[in-house]
């Protein structure tokens, strides 16, 4: 057992956990944030994607104890009050989900992608970079539209802020 402190969505969370505890178990079972999903549990589907110290990772393949002292953002940490994050809003507007199971991971991966590319994205890049996220409803078409729209808005907002 180890005492682990991880700052999740800005709030330090300290728990006594077994060393074999996965980050996704820490988030869901110990902290009770169940927006992060477990799909395949084999590092393939991306439903468990969270941001670990600012980059997208699959939380089913990280030990919680190895994330001791780190900062994690989950899907619950994106919206500000009642206002959806622009990527969440874009998924809503473009119907970028069907059953919704993959959606938290898709959105966390998309936020990371838009940040890394400063919002400069085309369809081929979005499809390529979502390689690590699987939608079993095969709803990729609208997911890609949502990401492109959010990327465009991100770019416009940053251009406006720079002026």
């Amino acid at each position: 057992m180890s005492q682990v402190t991880i700052t999740i969505n800005g709030k330090p969370e300290t728990r006594e956990v077994e060393d074999r505890t996965l980050l996704v178990q820490f988030i869901r079972e110990h902290v009770g944030l169940t927006g992060t999903h477990v799909g395949c549990d084999t590092t393939q589907c991306g439903a468990c994607t969270v941001h670990l110290d600012g980059v997208a990772v699959k939380s089913c393949t990280v030990l919680a104890v190895a994330a001791d002292g780190a900062a994690v953002t989950t899907i619950e940490g994106l919206a500000e009050g009642g206002t959806l994050h622009p990527v969440q809003q874009a998924f809503h507007e473009h119907h970028g989900l069907q059953c919704g199971y993959c959606t938290p991971g898709m959105i966390m991966a998309s936020v990371d992608m838009i940040r890394r590319h400063d919002g400069v994205l085309d369809e081929a890049t979005v499809r390529h970079e979502l390689e690590g996220n699987i939608c079993r409803c095969t709803g990729y078409h609208n997911i890609v539209k949502a990401v492109l729209d959010a990327a465009e808005k991100h770019r416009a907002a940053h251009a406006a802020a720079a002026e």
């Binding site: 990772v57 190895a66 991966a109 970079e129």
Partner: protein, 271 residues
């Protein structure tokens, strides 16, 4: 996953002492091979020794003729490094073709090389670029490092610290991926070094893991064009055969990927 005890040493000496002080320990780096194996109970070390907090294992340095990469450097960092891109663009392209974005944010060059998965990408670059592997206790040439499926010259407890790649005159990497797993089914890393020697390393296909295709090297040394490989075939009995690709198909793919690597020198060709 079975119960285990996690350690995070800050020095190589501390890591080695932890390893030697326990009967059943395993080093952990990015964990993107080891953790899935632990979850499937295919491995169950009593102690996990995380090497990522050891400073010597981090960082990238590029000199006039060498690219030196710390073992705990993540694939995404190699893929995005402008200095590496200028020196060996195919190495950046290879790093950027491993797994997916999230995997590249965690997986490390040292973990991939030390594990020597027969379908991993990095072993082909290490072998083709005639790299030197530095461990906590010695220096190994790439030709001596890889010793068969999941097997390397690393002794129990030995830590891979950094990999020193020779900057070639030019190099190319071509990979045919399994469409589901994205692992290589056949990939070729072709380098022409500054001394004129050509090294062709094949991964994903050989039944002994990564290997040099010496017949292709001989032909390409005289004529570094795809046509130089015309008519050259590999013995299918040396190839892996499985539900994804039988051995004769893999032998064919190796020849095609080798030609594509030569066609794409200076970059990466990923199918």
């Amino acid at each position: 996953m079975y119960a285990t005890t996690y350690h995070r040493p800050k020095t190589i000496a501390e890591a080695v002492a932890l390893y030697e002080g326990s009967e059943d320990a395993s080093y952990l780096s990015g964990g993107h091979t080891l953790i899935p194996a632990l979850k499937n109970r295919l491995a169950a070390p009593q102690h996990l020794i995380d090497v990522r907090a050891i400073p010597e294992l981090s960082g990238i340095a590029v000199t006039a003729d060498r690219v030196v990469i710390g073992a705990a450097t993540r694939h995404a960092a190699v893929a995005a490094c402008e200095d590496v891109k200028a020196a060996i663009p195919a190495l950046c392209g290879l790093a950027g073709s491993i797994g997916d974005v999230q995997v590249r944010h965690m997986g490390t060059i040292g973990g991939s090389t030390a594990n020597n998965d027969p379908a991993a990408d990095y072993p082909s670059a290490v072998l083709s670029l005639d790299a030197v592997v530095h461990t906590d206790r010695r220096v190994l040439a790439a030709d001596d490092f890889f010793q068969g499926l999941y097997t390397t010259a690393l002794a129990p407890g030995e830590i891979l610290v950094r990999i020193e790649f020779r900057i070639p005159e030019i190099a190319g990497y071509a990979k045919f991926r399994n469409p589901a797993s994205r692992y290589s089914m056949a990939a070729a890393f072709v380098s022409r070094h500054r001394d004129g020697k050509v090294r062709v390393a094949i991964t994903g296909a050989g039944n002994g893991g990564v290997f040099r295709w010496s017949e292709a090297e001989e032909r390409l040394a005289d004529d570094l064009t795809p046509a130089a490989l015309d008519g050259l075939a590999l013995d299918p009995s040396l190839m892996m055969g499985d539900m994804h690709a039988p051995a004769d198909y893999r032998a064919h793919l190796v020849a095609v990927m080798s030609r594509r690597a030569v066609e794409n020198l200076g970059r990466t060709y990923i199918l």
